[in-house]
Amino acid sequence: MTDTNDNAGTDRKIVTFSLAQQTFGIDMRALIEIREWDEPTPLPNVPGFIKGVTNLRGNVIPVVGLAERLGWEPSVIHARSCVLVVNIAGKQAGFLVDEVNDIVAIGETEIQPAPEVETIEPSVIAGLVRIATRQKDGTRDEKGTMVLLLDLDALSLTKHLDLAA
């Protein structure tokens, strides 16, 4: 399992980040930018996981507390909190995460299906993949870490809000 990430069909790149002591990953292609946490303008009458809206170069985009959205304890804002701005089916949204870790390449074949019981909405997790994590001294932790790959389409806000509203 040592060289898993270096050979065997490295088809896609994912951004990994930590949230509620877990490591999550999203497809690089959906990522627009990573911004510092900035208190968004709160919205009335929306589910609690929507933190509000913020200004992304003239666009008004919602900021989502990803932890709450996924059913974990809400993130505590700290110096390394940041917002991943992603594009989901043509709409933009910001996801509050605890810390952005790395960008890694993975092979499609390495992705394992997620057990259905793991989350409140099984479809939100597209799969599980093991990656080698970089240590502070630059060497690799050979044991690796499990990454929960998120299915962004399933996280689409409009879909969820239609149900919630």
Binding site: E39, P40, T41, P42, L43, P44, N45, V46, P47, G48, F49, I50, K51, G52, V53, T54, N55, G58, N59, V60, I61, P62, K91, Q92, A93, L157, T158, L161, D162, A164, A165
Partner: protein, 726 residues
Amino acid sequence: MSDELDEIQAIFFEECAEGLTTAEQGLSAMQAGDVSAEVIAGVFRAVHSIKGGAGAFGHADLTAFAHKFENVLDEVRGGKIPPSPGVVKVMLSAFDILTDHVESAKGLAPRPADEAALAALEQVLANKGADDGAPAAAPAPAPVAVEAPAAPAAEEADEFGFVPMAVSLDDFDAPAEAPAADASWIVTFKPSRAALANAGEPLLIIRELETLGAEILAVDTETVPPLRELDPEDAYFTWTLRVPGEVAEGDINDCFDFVAPDSVVEVRRDEAPAPAAAAPAADTGADEFGFVPVSAPIEDFAAEMQRVVETIAAASPPVSSVETPAIAPKAGGDAAQQTIRVDLGKLDLLLNLVGELVIRNSILADRLSPADRQRVELPELARLTRQIQDNVMSLRAQPIKQAFSRVPRMLRDLSVETGKTINLETYGETTEVDKGVIEKIGDPLTHMIRNAADHGLESAEERIAAGKDPAGTIKLSAEQRGARIFVRVQDNGRGINRERVKAKAIEKGIISPDAVLSNEEIDQLICAPGFSTAETISNISGRGVGMDVVRSNVEALGGRVEIHSVPGEGTTFTMILPLTLAILDGMIVRLAGQRFVLPLAHVLETVQPEAGQVKRTSPDSEVIDMRGEYVPVKRATEIFGLNDDRAVEDSLVVIVESEAHGKVGLVVDTIDDRREVVIKSLDQNLHPIRGLGGATILGDGSIALILDIEALVASTNRYTPKGMAA
């Protein structure tokens, strides 16, 4: 290459759409009794140019149908066929088929079944000619049953006591059978000055006429300016040609299908049969006169001019003899309007940029010191920015007629499907609305009209039994009130059967059986998802999605739908829409410290309440004493679930005028500012939120939410289900 062709073809289809709109408006006017010459000519020109373009792009079916339609219109225009209601009806049906043909030519629809419409047109052509026939009708050269394409009868035939009737071209081609045909045609052709620039090469037209046996009688060079002022790329000549009498007028006119706008074309019968000798042997010279090569050296051209003048002097008959009243300018353009086509995308981009400019402008103002802010440059910049903004907005404003134009056709179809006779009355078509609004009200409008025709109006029998006019009426109107547009669809049908609506809602589980609802609440159930009272699911409506879609579409636009129904008298659906989707004049207020934008259009006045001026009428409701008038007070902070301990005496009460609930006082902390804001919709990246009309970006780059006054004052209870996020 094919891309270019597609592009040109796209322009043609755009022109088709415009032509169809013009034709439909004209036909509707005719149906309403306006059969003036301009109206008829307008319809004729519209159909004619569709035919011309279709021919150029090889849409044979469309061309053939338009041709037949045009023939009838030409006869009507010439007064040969009276524009009776029956004829107008046939033309309206033909118009519908023509629309379908255009769709088919676009490849969006299969070829329509036009046989019935063609036959109806044939019959109009055939019958009307015969009906109006004088007793001393000349022996008909052809029986009434005519195969396409039939040429319109000669315009000037009356002068010869000739009975106009539809005859086939074949018969015209046989000179012996056309009694009056030996009077030859005199054709006057004056291309517009810009003919060459518009690729309307006169020489090609003259040559085409020559293939019909035309000969040039005269070339009028009077308008040719002195050489110094002469622009070699302009057309100056007027030609007079003689075309043999046996040539059909339609064939002559066909030569002029593609002349530049503003060209003058006259085709008439010569007063007296021309003596054979009168025709000058100008054939050899014709080509030279017909075409002035732009590259020709000036000397040659001058010599040419001299020859032209000599030829004129020798020519007979003189030009003056052909000065008869114009029959009709053949080419479509009345005074060419100074307009250009602009891609809507470019306009949207411009609007966005101006929006950004407005924001930068206020950022700049915020950054400057108060002293600098007062200097002349900044107010000047603000004024200019506002002017640019107003102008860009006006570019996008379009008469609502565009959204209404599809309704007549729809009602004709609905009339056939339902077997009901439906009259349509439209008002306020010229009301101007932002293009974005027009685009988005199409679907809701369609649903509302269908609903009115299918559910609202009764069958003729029911109407007679109720003592009503058997024909139902649907009124479609638009008006602007302040910053809102009201679009109404009103029928004079049976009204909403509230008992049935309620029963159905209970049956569908939309409301509980013991729910107590006001009449208005019952009416609103029509818009509930999954509601439909139609006994049988009809083709037209009744799938239970219609009114639900109307409401959600209109709400997504920041508008709302109101229903007003009187049993036995009819139902009115009103869409209340914002005038624009882009800019709002607003008051920046604070609610629990957070900035919100309150649309200024609603604001009547602001008061700082004194102790005891605001009183509770129940634990959840308050009123404010406004000079003896008790106005209900709403606390937006409570509605939005914001924490606010501020005493009402420390707050301000903004009195707003709402459409649905009259005057209402809204409690706010303070008023920060008044400014124009650019509306950013929340649903672009999120979802519309009740109580909010959108968001805007303030001068410091932060976001302020825009309050939807109507939704706020309509909320009788607190919004508590989820409270405020964060």
